[in-house]
């Protein structure tokens, strides 16, 4: 019979939660996402276009084809945004910590809020009375 006392091991913190590189990546990714998304939406830069009527994909922007239903750009904007913001986040990780520490953390919630009025303006086609 074992005489050792078994105690519950303390919960291990995720390595990501203590990673400075992850913090830098996540901070820049959060700030860049609304900015890149607004640019992609307003300039209409989807990575690809999806045609749900025919289940077809086109690289980049493509117009709707007559009698084949609408074209969808949202998926392409998401892909463009994730790639763009991800690239900026990875670039920031390569910068010295003294530089990345200076990024104001408040931007992670100010940037998305600032994007809202711009997106409302971008959707002006729909605000008809």
């Amino acid at each position: 019979m074992s005489t050792t006392t078994q105690t519950a091991a303390p919960a291990q913190a995720s390595p990501l939660a203590s990673s400075t590189a992850f913090r830098t990546f996540a901070t820049v990714f959060a700030i860049a996402t609304p900015i890149v998304y607004v640019i992609c939406e307003m300039a209409n830069w989807p990575l690809f276009t999806y045609h749900p009527g025919t289940d077809r994909l086109n690289l980049g922007w493509a117009p709707a084809v007559k009698d084949e239903g609408p074209a969808m750009y949202w998926y392409g904007w998401i892909a463009s945004t994730l790639l763009g913001a991800g690239a900026l986040g990875l670039f920031a990780v390569k910068l010295p910590e003294s530089a990345t520490r200076r990024i104001p953390l408040a931007l992670v919630w100010i940037a998305p809020l600032a994007a809202v009025p711009i997106l409302i303006y971008a959707l002006r086609f729909f605000w008809r009375w």
Partner: protein, 168 residues
């Protein structure tokens, strides 16, 4: 998908996906509302028994973080999946009936869902370092921002479903 359609109708399949999307959204809304209220209204030790508001806000915020991220991503995936059907079977009739503002509100919902997706890594990081006071302010307002986005998306989804949901 054809194998699934051998057992259930096409309508039933997409209805199930929509209901799963809606149920995930309810769970996400609840979790984010609790967490946002907990950072906005610090719970004080009451002399008597805790009331509804005290109990609502007295949640352990960090334990919600991973669940919120998983729920946001899962809700997003189901929403993006059923979005193809929305584009053809819902939006086109909405256009024909002139529900422009409803469509605009829904477009805004998809924009916010994507932007929220990009906020999740830092949101998770802040909550996993909940004892670091340097992150207190950013964590608080980021959580409130995500909760506000979630409420907007939830209500807009409801409105669109009311305009052209089941049986329409």
């Amino acid at each position: 998908m054809d194998a699934v359609y051998d057992y259930i109708s096409v309508n039933t399949f997409w209805t199930i996906l929509f209901i799963v999307h809606a149920l995930l959204a309810v769970a996400l809304l609840g979790a984010l509302s609790h967490q946002a209220m907990s950072v906005l209204m610090r719970t004080r030790q009451a002399a008597g028994p805790a009331g509804f508001v005290t109990r609502f806000t007295a949640v352990h915020g960090p334990s919600y973080a991973t669940a919120v991220c998983v729920l946001w991503i899962a809700t997003f995936i189901f929403g993006a999946w059923i979005y193809t059907k929305y584009r053809i079977y819902i939006r086109i009739p909405l256009e024909q009936d002139g529900f422009w503002k409803t469509q605009g509100a829904f477009e805004m919902k998809e924009h916010l869902a994507t932007i929220g997706l990009g906020l999740l890594p830092i949101y998770w990081y802040f909550w996993k370092n909940a004892r670091n006071v340097d992150y207190d302010s950013a964590r608080k307002w980021l959580t409130v921002t995500l909760a506000a986005m979630c409420w907007y998306m939830f209500l807009t989804g409801h409105i669109v479903n009311n305009v052209r949901g089941f049986g329409s």
